[in-house]
């Protein structure tokens, strides 16, 4: 499940259509405070099926829609698409013949959500199931949010137990 590229439109501060390509090795994201780097991490969590607004620094699920600035009005929708190479061929049978997989998530101001796999409509659970067993998804230890690395050392014994269980 090698990540190939991430597309964002209307997602938080990414008002315009933005594409980020991933290459082998280390892909660094840099820029000034507040320019949108951690918003990309939120976009990745969100498109992988995140359901808790607080985990992507929002009050409600529609906090991810571009809220407008002094010059630009708010968007009506946020959309993120995440493209992967199916190199390990470890996906559920109905998708395993594809060389490339694209998952898409949309949310509208009205509150409606849409989910797609290879541009075909599906449910959120289909996306979540797609990643089970691929060593991917919003697991505790493959996406480390800003400011959280010390909490792995200082967390409660119960939380640390959960981490061990998730690694199983």
């Amino acid at each position: 499940m090698k990540p190939i590229k991430l597309e964002l439109i209307g997602f938080k501060s990414f008002f315009n259509h933005t594409v980020i390509h991933f290459m082998d090795g280390i892909n660094c994201i840099v820029g000034p405070n507040g320019c949108g780097k951690s918003n990309i991490v939120d976009a990745i969590r969100w498109v992988l099926g995140e359901q808790a607004p607080s985990r992507i620094r929002g009050k409600s699920m529609d906090s991810v829609i571009f809220a407008g600035t002094e010059k630009f009005t708010a968007s009506g929708m946020a959309e993120v698409s995440f493209y992967f190479e199916n190199d390990e061929k470890n996906l559920p049978p109905q998708y395993n013949s594809y060389d490339e997989i694209c998952i898409t998530r949309r949310i509208f101001r009205t509150g409606e959500s849409e989910y797609m796999i290879n541009k075909m409509s599906c449910r959120l659970t289909d996306i979540v199931e797609l990643f089970l067993g691929t060593g991917f998804g919003t697991r505790a230890y493959s996406i480390i949010d800003q400011g959280t690395i010390t909490s792995f050392a200082t967390s409660s014994p119960e939380d640390r137990r959960l981490m061990v269980e998730e690694a199983a």
Binding site: T18, I20, V30, P32, T69, Y141, D145, A153, A167
Partner: protein, 161 residues
């Protein structure tokens, strides 16, 4: 299941014994069951021994030491079950120069098997990158992503502001 939990628990300690000494210059970290008799849902403690120092309670560790313990645990789990994609958001912020170097050595090794996305303000970490995206906000409140080379960002960062 109990067996699988204990098996993972032991595997993590095995990997911690490899990774912690690298990140913590000879120090050690290991998981410990709080209640040996309760394998079903007993809590898991972490015991840390920085090189040459006595075994101390985790809250007495420094900011940087806690980050290194956190990274040791995360990387130990990675070694058991490498994820094809790892996202690290400013995990190098509390680290001094030498520890940043050790962190970079480890992610360079792991990134031979996985694609890493690393958000950082640290120039040394940027120098280790295979690719760099600069995120800018020329238009206030509107983000833009630009693929950059190393020389470009050091000028770009100055220009943007």
């Amino acid at each position: 299941s109990k067996e699988r939990f204990i098996e993972t628990f032991n595997k993590i300690n095995e990997k911690l014994a490899e990774v912690a000494p690298i990140l913590m210059s000879g120090g050690r970290a290991s998981l410990r069951l709080m209640d040996e008799s309760n394998l079903l849902d007993g809590g898991v403690d972490i015991v840390v021994n920085p090189r040459g120092k006595k075994l101390i309670s985790i809250d007495m560790l420094s900011g940087g030491e806690k980050a290194l313990v956190g990274l040791s645990l995360v990387f130990a789990i990675y070694k058991i079950k490498p994820s094809p994609f790892c996202v690290l958001d400013e995990v190098d912020a509390p680290l001094d120069e030498v520890n940043t170097g050790r962190f970079i050595t480890l992610i360079k090794e792991f990134s031979q098997n996985s694609r890493f996305m690393v958000i950082t303000h640290n120039k040394r970490t940027m120098e280790a990158a295979n690719q760099i995206y600069g995120i800018t906000m020329q238009e206030p409140g509107i983000s833009k992503a630009v693929s950059l080379t190393i020389d470009q960002i050091f000028n770009e960062e100055a220009e943007i502001q």
